[in-house]
Every structure is written in structure tokens, then in C-alpha cells.
């Protein structure tokens, strides 16, 4: 089994096409939103249209989509029924994410057991479509769940009751130590809006603030965060092994200004706002993340999450588009091809690994050696 590449997928189309059509930037610093080309403005509920979408994703080497489990008054829904019907074991599958911290229905403590049952039921309805036959649920913003340990226990108990064997629970978190202690199986790098992995490039001075207040400067400098794409992804991948069991989340771009009309947007900038995706760096981001996941996770637990297949409203989509043609899509396809070729051809004849206590001892010895040499690790 190779590293599984899972792309976040929004099932809220055609509804979101009108939102995309209506989105207007309120600052010249905002990169343009894009518009679909090859696949058109599809309807995720129509199997003929969603079949083309999934086919194109599979052709790029993507193993499955991550769809959101959204709360409703009656329970939860994914909107992925048509997609699930097309999934085939070993070829294409589904995993799930739940924005637990933003789920207002979870706030009612007494209702949690019932909500957990409903959430797991929404997943169980799509059981034949699970990637590799195993249910995987990503919990975004787990810290906002209230009693996290209780939430994890509820979900696990309901999954067991529903016969969801091999249930894997991932927390969207930059470090795994605390969430694994709470019962999660692993962590996943948070999205760009939830984790500014380096300091923002815009730090308004007092004078800037006055000029903004006087209408002489663009107010987004004060309300939004701008980052250099290159530094942002560099800082996510440096010394990764020190963060524990955390799956990489890779993305070509991100600017969520459409969802923040009153400020608070996160904008990753590639040089200038109008430059588009840094395809070279994005390709390497994907390629190196896959290689890293292969080296650092056990067989059957190797994942890289791609943000996103079709999050057009935050600019992270890799689908073919009017402004980029199929270049971003092709970048992902090439990066996956390269990484998989490397993994296949380099072989996996690893030697026995040292046990955890020896590895810890080695780390301590090296740190002591740094100190003895008068240097810092």
C-alpha cells in the first residue's frame, strides 16, 4: 500500500457556485477567485457529473475525497451520496471531517450522546465507500469541543456499536502529543486559517494605524493576516518529526477573504497578489510531504491531505480553472507521480529500527553533546 492522498471536497455545489459568482474583493491585496473550466459548474448530487469529477481526481493519483459531515436539526448529512455510489475499494474512497468546534448542536451537553450517534450514523450510511474499508474522521478545532476526552469516547463507542471496524479519529492539530493522550489516533496539520505557521508579513505600525484610520491606507493591513506562501509552507515542514504523529496538509494557495467580509481573512501571498500559484513550490510541497509520510508512518497509516479539490471560495482548489487552465491540477498529478515512483523504486527493505527508549537516549545524548560543545540544538 502506498501513501494515500486525500483531497478535501466540498459537496455544496451547485449552491456555492452562486456564492463564488457573487464574491467581490474589497481590497487590491486580495488575489482573484477563480472559476471552473473543464468540469464546469457541476452538481454534486448528479452521478453523471460527479463521476467526471471523481474520475479526474483519480487520474491525478488522488485516492479519495474528504467530505464534511454537516449538522442539521435532525442529525448530520454529507451530501456525498452520489459520490459514494461511485467509489470502489482500492480505487477511490471517502473520508470525513467534522467541524466540531463550530457545531452549535454539540454545545448542548445532554444532547451529545444522541448527536454522536447521529454523526456516526451519517458515516455508516456510506460504509461501502470508506477508503480501504476503514472509516476516518478528521475533527477540526477539537479544543472547542468542550470535554474532548468525552467527545472522543462517545464517538468511538458509537462507531463500535455501528460496527465501524478500524475507526480512525484524527485531530486537526499541529502537535500530536496532547490529542493522542485524549484518545485520537493521530493529528493533522490545521488549515491555513487555523494555524499561521510563521509570523504574518504585515505588522502595521502606529503610523500605519493612523493612516488606515484616516483613509489613506487599505484597512486590510490591520484586519487581515498576510503571509508569504513559501515561508508559510517552509515553517510547516521544518523539523516535522518533533511534532509527533501529524499528517501533512498541503495546499497550493489560500485566501479566505470571501468568507470574511468584515476582516479577519488569512491570505497566503505568492510574491504579489496577482501572481497565482507558485507551482514549483507547491509541487515540491506535495512531493516532499508524500515522501515524508512514507518514511514516518506505519503501513496502512500513511496519509497526506490535500487542501483542496474544490474549495473555490478560499482559492485552494486544484480543479482545472479559467485562470490557470489545468496547470495546478497537472502540478499535483506530476508531484504524485514523482513521489510514488520514488517510493516504489527506492524499495522498502528497512533495517530493524531501534526501540523508543534507545531513540530517546540518543536524542538526549546528542542534546548533551550540543551543550558540551557549547552549542544549542
Amino acid at each position: 500500500m502506498t501513501v494515500r492522498i486525500l483531497a478535501f471536497f466540498d459537496t455544496a455545489y451547485p449552491g456555492n457556485w452562486s456564492a463564488l459568482r457573487q464574491a467581490r474583493p474589497q481590497s487590491r491585496r486580495y488575489p482573484s477567485l477563480n472559476w471552473p473550466s473543464t468540469l464546469g459548474t457541476y452538481d454534486t448530487a448528479k452521478s453523471d457529473q460527479i463521476g467526471q469529477v471523481a474520475g479526474l481526481a483519480a487520474a491525478a493519483g488522488i485516492d479519495g475525497f474528504v467530505v464534511e459531515v454537516k449538522p442539521t436539526a435532525e442529525g448530520y448529512h454529507t451530501g456525498a451520496e452520489a459520490l459514494a455510489a461511485l467509489c470502489r475499494p482500492g480505487l477511490f474512497g471517502l473520508t470525513f471531517r467534522w467541524r466540531g468546534g463550530k457545531d452549535a448542536t454539540w454545545a448542548d451537553e445532554a444532547a451529545r450522546p444522541a448527536r454522536a450517534r447521529q454523526l456516526i450514523a451519517a458515516l455508516a450510511a456510506l460504509k461501502p465507500a470508506f477508503i480501504d474499508g476503514r472509516p476516518v474522521l478528521v475533527v477540526e478545532d477539537p479544543g472547542a469541543l468542550g470535554d474532548v476526552r468525552q467527545a472522543v469516547a462517545l464517538l468511538r463507542a458509537e462507531a463500535a456499536a455501528a460496527g465501524l471496524d478500524g475507526f480512525r479519529l484524527l485531530a486537526s492539530r499541529a502537535e500530536s502529543a496532547d490529542v493522542m493522550g485524549l484518545g485520537f489516533d493521530a493529528a493533522l496539520d490545521p488549515g491555513p486559517a487555523d494555524w499561521g505557521s510563521c509570523p504574518p508579513s504585515n505588522k502595521p505600525t502606529g503610523l500605519d494605524v493612523l493612516e488606515i484610520q484616516a483613509g489613506l491606507k487599505d484597512s486590510v493591513e490591520l484586519t487581515d493576516k498576510f503571509y508569504s506562501y513559501q515561508l508559510f509552507i517552509f515553517s510547516r515542514m521544518i523539523n516535522r518529526e518533533t511534532r509527533g504523529k501529524v499528517y501533512p496538509r498541503v495546499f497550493p494557495a489560500y485566501f479566505d477573504w470571501a468568507g470574511h467580509p468584515d476582516g479577519g481573512a488569512t491570505v497566503l501571498v505568492n510574491g504579489h497578489a496577482d501572481k497565482g500559484v507558485d507551482q514549483y513550490m507547491f509541487g515540491l510541497f506535495v512531493e516532499n510531504a508524500i515522501a515524508w509520510a512514507d518514511r514516518n508512518f506505519a503501513e496502512g497509516e500513511k496519509f497526506v491531505f490535500l487542501e483542496s479539490w474544490n474549495h473555490w471560495l478560499d482559492g485552494s482548489q486544484i480543479e482545472p480553472s479559467v485562470l490557470d487552465g489545468d496547470q495546478v491540477y497537472q502540478t499535483v498529478k506530476d508531484a504524485i507521480d514523482k513521489a510514488r515512483f520514488m517510493l516504489r523504486s527506492r524499495g522498502a527493505a528497512r533495517t530493524e529500527t531501534l526501540d523508543e527508549s534507545t531513540l530517546l537516549r540518543l536524542r538526549q545524548i546528542c542534546e548533551a553533546a550540543y551543550a558540551a560543545a557549547g552549542m544549542k540544538p
Binding site: Q230, K338, R346, P377
Partner: protein, 485 residues
């Protein structure tokens, strides 16, 4: 993107489009090799066209440097079909070559001598090789302009490199004119440096017995490499020192001067293929040995053709007592970002000393104070002797690593940082490990300063404890070493 058109006897056309492959080996992909001139791709398109259209009479092949489509080629089919014809832009940059089938089938290797950037030279070459007057058809409305140093399709072919291609074509024209038996002249791979590239070339040549080349131009000071790791290519020594790594001499200035230095007798009695980079070598996932194999003539159509899929060239290990574990390090690459940082090396050495290891380091006397014996290595015989006196070699991405692993087959831990392991590592085995970080900027192409941090070292090297762990794991697996014994 490469394009071709087979012109069939009944007037129909068979169209071909190939993308540079990234490791999936699909039917519509072509192997991506940096080490061959653009004309090598012209040959490959010709081979593929004859595969899909075995009864083609003529082949129209786009200049590999240009992103053309078969539809564009179809609009340029020359009216005269009996002789080779080059379609050129307004200023004489070749757009496409329309060649009789026999020329592709029987004179394939001479097509390697096409400059692909000078229509006049290529017209003369095709005329001499074909024994006829080659034609030129102009497309006056199209002006390619100055070809950029790096193109979107991965070509690394600025003005200076084009000059080198012209030089090889001019030399070929002279050789044909001077030598009656020019068809029997040997082809020489023009790749005088660096040591690692030369080693890869020799290893590749062993696997391409019927390639284009029978000789190789090498810096005379690298002769020991060829002697220690011989291949079927006969060396043509170049009496010049190798190109310094400090950029004090421009690469193309060196290459052109070195070509002159070969002397008229050598130049006029050989054909030369320019095998230094024409494409960006680290954009492809393929090993340099495989990239060389393609340059030498192998089509590299299947994954099984690549060296990673095969067994190691050599396999050996130390015949020494298990303790003390003797380790040989090479931590200084050809440029600063390839070198393992002093403080990390110090920590690593002190940790290894605590396990009773004996350490030797090549060309890093600054590490003596951390318990290592420092040696200088300037030839392969000395390096070989040192390697054989140690259990494991630990080296950065530089010639000693390639030599120790690929030529000697010694247990090796490789340390990569801002270069991609896949381009020059070996197959993972209990006696081979390649360590690298996860940074998305790898490979950056920088040499002296990190483009991200501005520092003179690369953060993508493995941490000291990771290197120590890899060494101890290998020592256990290969020699039965235990830390406590």
C-alpha cells in the same frame, strides 16, 4: 511537450504528442533526462512515430525545445517530400524537421548531432548525412525570439548552451568534410566533469551496450575514476583541470575552451554529443544513472529499466572485528549548502564516541577536536583503502558517496539536504539508507546561501540523533553490532 507527425503512404497522418514523464511511465510520456541534447528527444519521437506508424514514409518532428502540437506541424508540412526539410522561423530558429523514414531508421545517431538551434548548420548536416540537398521552409510570421535560459517545459538552454550545441554541430560538419570514412568515426560523450557525473556515466554505459557512444571526454585528473570504475566507453583525456566549484570560471566558457583544448586531430576524428545538462536535472524523479542511460540511447520506457528497480552494482562489507565500530565520514560537499553543519557534526561525533566508535572524517580538520581523525582524499585509491578500513561510510551528496555506494557497494548512510535523494541515491537496503528532511523547498538549486533563511547551511539535513540512529541500525543489521556489547 513533444510532437510528431507520421506521413503515411495514403496521404493520411498519424499524430503523436508526448509529455515529459514524472515516473508513471504512461504511453504518452517520454523519459525526462537532463543529460542529453535536445536532438536526443528528436530521435526518441522518431522511434515512437515508427512504432505507431510502421509504414510511414516521412516523419515531421517538432523541435524538442518548442511546445508545439501536431496540428501546428500539419500546417507546415513542406511541399517537397523527397529530401530532408527543416521548417524554420523568421530568423532561422528550427521549428520542425521533416525527415525521410530511412534517415530516422538508418542514420539515427547522426541526428544526435543536430544543433536544434541553428537552421543553417542543421541544413548542412542533414545534407551531408543524407547525401542530398536538404531544404528549408520558412514560417516568416513566427519569430521565436531569444530562447530563455530556463523554459517552462524544463529546458536549460540559454544562449551559452546553444553555443555549445552549435560547436558540436560545427565540429561534426568539419569531421565529415575531412574524413572520407566519416561514417565509421566514433561518437564521444562530451562530459568532462564533475567526478560524480563521470561515475554515473560509466555505470550507465555498462547497461547500454549498443548506445550512440563508444568514447567519453574526461578531465585527465579524473582518470583514476575510470580506472577504478571502468565502463565500456574509452576515455579521451582532456588535459585541463576540472571546472572549479567556486564559479570563478563560467561553465560554458570552460566547456568551449576545453573543446578547443582537445586539439584538431581529436576534434576531427570524432563526433561529440553534449551530455552536460540541457534540462534541469533535479525536476525529474529519475536517477542520474538513468538520465545518462537515456542520453546514451536507451529509450527508458518501463520502470524496470531504471536502476532503482535493480540490484546494486556491487555489494561488499568490512572484514573487521565488530568492535570498535569504525565509521568514515565525508561531510563537506561541493558547496556550502551540501555540507553538514559543524555543530550538528560535533554533536553526532560526541554521541558516537560515547558508544566507543572510532571516527575518521575526510577533508574536515575542524572536526578533529571532536574526536575524529581527519584525512585528505584526492584519489579513488586512497578513498577505497580508507573505506575498506571502516565498517560504514556516512557521506553527503557528493562524489565519495556515489563512488562508495555504486562502485564499491559498501554499507552507506547518505545525508541529503537541498538536493533530491532520488537523483543520486541507491536502492534502500539494510546496508543503504538515505536521510533527508521534509522541507518543501528541496531542491532549491542554491549553493552558498539558503534562499529562505539566508544562512550558509541547509535545515533539511537529518538531525544528529537521526543520523546516529541510522548508523546504529545499520551496524546492527550488517555487522551484528549492539550498543551495549
Amino acid at each position: 511537450m513533444l510532437a510528431g507527425l507520421a506521413l503515411l503512404p495514403d496521404g493520411r497522418q498519424q499524430r503523436l504528442v508526448l509529455r515529459f514523464g514524472a515516473g508513471a511511465f504512461r504511453d504518452d510520456e517520454v523519459f525526462d533526462s537532463a543529460n542529453c541534447p535536445p536532438a536526443r528527444y528528436l530521435i526518441e519521437v522518431g522511434r515512437r512515430l515508427l512504432e505507431i506508424a510502421p509504414n510511414a514514409r516521412r516523419l515531421m518532428i517538432a523541435n524538442p525545445l518548442l511546445p508545439l502540437s501536431p496540428e501546428q506541424l500539419a500546417g507546415w508540412i513542406p511541399p517537397v517530400l523527397a529530401v530532408p526539410v527543416i521548417v524554420a522561423d523568421a530568423k532561422g530558429f528550427p521549428l520542425a524537421y521533416c525527415l525521410p523514414r530511412w534517415m530516422v531508421e538508418e542514420e539515427e545517431r547522426f541526428l544526435l548531432l543536430l544543433s536544434t538551434c541553428d537552421v543553417g548548420l542543421d541544413q548542412r548536416l542533414l545534407g551531408l548525412v543524407g547525401g542530398c540537398e536538404a531544404g528549408v521552409v520558412g514560417v516568416p510570421k513566427l519569430d521565436i525570439g531569444e530562447f530563455p535560459p530556463a523554459s517552462t517545459t524544463g529546458w536549460f538552454m540559454g544562449r551559452g548552451r546553444q553555443e555549445m550545441l552549435r560547436t558540436c554541430t560545427i565540429a561534426a560538419l568539419r569531421a565529415i568534410q575531412k574524413q572520407k570514412a566519416w561514417r565509421d568515426l566514433p561518437f564521444a560523450a562530451y562530459l568532462p566533469y564533475h567526478a560524480g557525473s563521470l561515475l554515473m556515466l560509466n555505470l550507465a554505459a555498462r547497461q547500454v551496450p549498443n548506445g550512440f557512444f563508444s568514447k567519453e571526454v574526461i578531465c585527465a585528473s579524473y582518470r583514476d575514476i575510470v580506472e577504478t570504475c571502468p565502463g565500456p566507453l574509452e576515455p579521451l583525456p582532456l588535459r585541463m583541470p576540472w571546472l572549479p566549484r567556486d564559479n570563478s570560471v563560467g561553465e560554458l566558457e570552460y566547456l568551449a575552451h576545453a573543446f578547443e583544448r582537445l586539439g584538431p586531430e581529436v576534434r576531427e576524428s570524432h563526433f561529440f554529443g553534449f551530455l552536460r545538462y540541457s534540462r534541469i536535472y533535479n525536476r525529474t524523479p529519475f536517477h542520474l544513472i538513468d538520465q545518462m542511460k537515456f542520453a546514451l540511447g536507451h529509450s527508458m520506457r518501463h520502470e524496470a529499466d531504471t536502476v532503482h528497480g535493480g540490484t546494486p552494482f556491487a555489494r561488499a562489507k568490512a572484514d573487521l572485528p565488530v568492535r570498535p565500530l569504525k565509521l568514515l565520514f565525508h561531510l563537506a560537499g561541493g558547496w556550502k549548502l551540501k555540507s553538514y553543519r559543524l555543530d550538528k557534526a560535533a554533536a553526532m561525533f560526541m554521541a558516537l564516541k560515547s558508544f566507543g566508535c572510532e571516527l575518521t572524517v575526510i577533508d574536515r580538520p575542524d572536526l578533529e577536536r571532536f574526536g575524529a581523525r581527519s584525512v585528505s582524499s584526492d584519489d579513488t585509491a586512497f578513498l577505497t583503502a580508507e573505506v575498506r578500513a571502516h565498517h560504514i561510510f556516512i557521506g553527503v551528496d557528493s562524489f565519495p558517496h556515489h563512488f562508495v555506494r555504486h562502485a564499491l557497494g559498501w554499507p552507506t548512510v547518505a545525508l541529503f539536504a537541498n538536493t533530491k535523494p532520488c537523483n543520486s541515491d541507491a536502492r534502500e537496503n539494510p546496508d543503504y539508507r538515505a536521510l533527508v528532511g521534509a522541507l518543501p523547498c528541496n531542491p532549491c538549486g542554491a549553493e552558498q546561501f539558503c534562499p529562505m533563511t539566508g544562512r550558509e547551511d541547509c535545515d533539511n539535513f537529518a538531525q544528529p540523533h537521526q543520523v546516529v540512529a541510522a548508523i546504529l541500525e545499520m551496524a546492527r543489521a550488517v555487522y551484528g553490532f549492539t550498543e551495549a556489547s
